[in-house]
Amino acid sequence: MEANNINRRKFMKLAGMSGAMLAIGFETFAIEGPKVLKKLMAEDFVEGTPLNPFVVIAEDGTISIMATVPELGQGIFQAIPAIIAEELEVDMDQVTVVKSSASRKYGRQSIGGSRSVRTMYQPMRKLGAATKEVLIEAASKKWGVAKSALYAKSGKVHRTDTKDFVEYKDLVATAAAIEVPKNPNLKTKKDFSIIGKETVRTDILSKVNGTADYGIDARPDGLLYATIERCPTLQGKPISYDKEAALSVQGVTDVMEVTRSVYKNKNTGIAVIAETHYAALEGRKKLNVKWDNAEFSKLNSESYFREMKELAKKDHLNHKDQGNFNQSFANAASTLDVVYEQPHQSHSCMEPMNATVHVKEDNTVEVWAPSQSPQVQRQFARQLGIPDDQAEEKIKVHLPFLGGGFGRRSMNDPLEECFQISKELRKPIKLIWTREDDTTQGPFRQATVHAMKAAFDDQDNPTGVQHKMISEAITTQFRPSNGKIPFEVMEGISTHYDFDNYSIQYGEYNSQLPIHWWRSVFGSTNGFAHEAFIDEVAVKAKQDPLQFRIDRLNSEPRQVKVLERLKKEANWDKKLGANEGKGVAIVESFGSIVAHAVFLKREGNQVIISRVVSVVDCGIVINPNQAKAQTEGNIIYGLTAAMKGAITFKDGVAEQSNFHDYAILRINEAPRDIQVYLMENDENPGGMGEPGLPPIAPALVNAVADLTGKRIRKLPFDLQKV
C-alpha cells in the first residue's frame, strides 16, 4: 500500500503543477480514514452545482465536465468534453475532465463502430449550448438586461453595453433553477475556438508517468487473483480435473467451474483463485483437465477455406445487381477470374482481457470494467435478485482506461466470469487472462473468401465487375438473417465505380467458430479484396490506377476530391525509379473516406515501405491531431494484418498463442514516413477509429504489383519475399 499512497500524492501534485486539466482516475481518489481505505467514484469528489449530468460548476470557479465514454486510445476522453466546452463557452484550460462511472444518466456509454463522435456531436453541442443559455439567462435576471445584450466567453457572461462581466460560478445557483431550453442556438463553424484545433489530450500526462488507471491496475483491499483454464478447442466440457493438486499450491484458495458466454455458446472453464497471480498460474498448471471436445475438434482452417471456396462457385444474395454481369462475362473478349482470401485474426489488445469485481456480503457490488460496453449493472443486478431500479445504487461500475479495444472489449465475457467467482466467494477478485488465453480463445475477426471477376471488351475496357464475398456473419450468431444480407457484412464495398454491369453478392458460410467485431470489421476484409481487384482491372485497362478511380467515381464527388488531393500530396505522377513501386486504394467506411498511397523501395535485398501518404475526409474534425493519430494507428494495425500474423486452426485448436508466433508489426518494420492530410469541409463528423484501416492492405499489395508485377491475393504475405 505504501507505494500506492506515495503515488497518489505525487500524482495530485503533478496534476496541480500541470496547471491545466486533470484526468481523474479511481486510484487517485482513495480516501484514507483511520485504517480504512475507501474507494469512491471520481464523481463523488466533484464539488459544485450540477447543471446537467455532464457539467458541474463549483463556487470556486472549477468547471468539471464528465468524460463518460470509455477511452481506449481514440481520444474520446478529450473529444466529448471539448465539444461541450465549445458550446458552453469555456476554455479547455478552465475545465477539469472527470472520468465518470457507468450510469444510465449519461445515456449510452457503449463504444464501437467508430460511432462516439458521430452520434454525440449534435447532442453534446446542444447540451453545452443549452447550459450556456441558462447561465446567460441567470445573468440577464441579475442585471435586469435583455439576453440579447449579453454574450458568453471563457466562463463569463459579458454585457455588450458596458465592460461588466460575471463569472459562471456566480451565476450557477440561479442558473440551476432555470428550465433548460430544448433547442438552443448553436455556434457556426467559423466561430469555433476548440473544435478543429489541435488541443492537448487530457489523458496523455497520466500515460507518460504510469498513473493512468487501467482495469488490470485495480487493487481493492483483500484482492484475490483468478486465472481460468479453458478448453483448447474453444468449446468442450470438462470431464475431469485435479482440484486437489491445484489447491495444494501454496497461496491457492479456491478452484471452481465458471461459464463463459460467447454468443449462444456457453463454455465451461476451471478457475483457480489465489493470493497472488503467480500462485493462481502455478495452480492452473496442476489442473490436468480432460476435455470432451469431440465435435469442435474437427475444425480446421484448411477445410474452412476449402468449403468457403466451394460456396463461392454458386450464386448468392445480391447486394448490388446493375446491368447483367453474367451476360457481360459470357460475351467478354477477355476476363479476370481470381480469388482473394484472408484469415482469422485476433484483436490482441495490448492490455489482455481482464476484470475486477467485488460482490460484497451485503449484496452490493463494485466493478472495474475494462469494457467497451460497461453498463453491466442490470445484468448483474438480476443475478443477485436486485430490482432494476436499485441496480445503479447497489452496483458501482468504474470505467478504467482501456489498453486497446478494437471491438474485442464489446464482449463482456471476462466480466461475466469474474462476477461468477466473486459472487460465489464474496471477495474482490481480479481475473487476468494470459496472453495465451487472449490469443487462442477468440472471438476472432472473420476469415473471408472473395471471388472476383471482370469482363473486358477487345480494347481491354472493363464492361463488368463482380465481387462475391463468402464468410461467416457476426449478427447471425445471435439472430437469424431471415434470408437478408446481415447489415455488417458489406461494410467497405463503398466505391461505386461506374461499370455498366456490376454485381456484388454475399454468401454466408456457417461454422461454430466464434467471430466478433474487429477494427473496421468487414471493411478490413472487403476493402482489401475490392480495391486490390479494382487495381487489377485498371492495370489491365492500361490506365493509371489513381486516375482510373477518379474517372470512374462520378457518383461519389467526395471520394473524387479525396483522390485528387492524394494525387497532389503524394506527388503521385512523379516518375519512380526502377527499384520503386506505388499503390493506391480508397475506401469509405463508418462515415469517413480514406485514401492511402503506399510507396515501396527495394534497398539491397530488403523491401521497405518508404512512405505512406493518406488523405482523410471525416467531415468536421474535433481534434485534427487525433484524427491523424487514429489514421496512423489504423495503418499499422492494417499492415500487421496484411504482413504479419494469422490465426489458423488445426483440430479445433488455434495454432498461435503469443507474440512469438502471432507477430505484430514492430517499429523497425513500420513505415518511417507517414503523412496524413485532412479534407476541410462542413460535412457532419464521420468516424475516425476505423476508416483508416480498410484501404491500407490493398494500397500495399497494389504497390507490390507495381514494383514486381506480382499480385498478392492471400493475406498475410511476406514483404521480404516478393
Binding site: E2, A3, V208, Y214, E282, M350
Partner: protein
C-alpha cells in the same frame, strides 16, 4: 516463500514472495507500482520494461530472486514531475493512444538515450524493436526520441 529486499526508484521495499515469481508481478501487486504492465509474459512485447542497474530489462522474465539488491527503476521513478526529456517529448508529440505499452516504450527510449544520446533511425529500430505498440504509435515514438535527443544534446529548450 522468502523475503526479498528490493531497491526500486531509490526506495527500499521488503516483500515476501515465491523466489520464482516474475519481478513484474511483485512490482505491480506487492509493491503497488502499477505503471509497469503485463503484455505477454515471455519477453516478446516490452510492456513490462524497467531499468535494472540502468539497463532495460523485461521484468516479466526475471524472477524476483534475481532482482534483490539491484537498482531498479520503473516508470514512476523516471522523474518526479514528468520532466524527463523523454516524457516531455512524448507529451509534445502526443504519442500515447491507449497508452498501455507506453511505460515500456518510455523506459526503453530513456535507456537508449542514456547510452546513446544521438541515436540514428536504425539505432532506434534496434533499441525499440522489442516494444510492441498495438495502437501503432511507432511513427510518433521515433519522432519523440529525436526530439528528446535534441533536447538532451543541446541543453534544455
Amino acid at each position: 516463500m522468502a523475503n526479498f529486499k528490493l531497491d526500486i526508484n531509490n526506495q527500499s521495499y521488503e516483500v515476501e514472495a515465491e523466489p520464482q515469481t516474475p519481478l513484474l508481478w511483485v512490482i505491480r501487486d506487492e509493491v503497488g507500482l502499477t505503471g509497469t504492465k503485463y503484455g505477454c509474459g515471455i519477453a516478446q512485447c516490452g510492456a513490462c520494461t524497467i531499468h535494472l542497474n540502468g539497463s532495460p530489462v523485461r521484468s516479466c522474465s526475471i524472477p524476483v530472486s534475481a532482482a534483490s539488491n539491484q537498482k531498479l527503476t520503473t516508470i514512476e521513478g523516471l522523474s518526479e514531475d514528468n520532466s524527463h526529456p523523454v516524457q516531455k517529448a512524448w507529451i509534445d508529440a502526443q504519442v500515447p493512444q491507449c497508452g498501455y505499452c507506453q511505460s515500456g516504450q518510455i523506459m526503453s527510449a530513456a535507456a537508449l538515450l542514456d547510452k546513446n544520446p544521438k541515436p540514428t533511425d536504425s539505432d532506434i529500430d534496434t533499441a525499440m524493436a522489442g516494444n510492441i505498440c498495438r495502437c501503432g504509435t511507432y511513427h510518433r515514438i521515433r519522432k519523440a526520441i529525436h526530439t528528446a535527443s535534441n533536447e538532451m544534446t543541446n541543453g534544455s529548450k
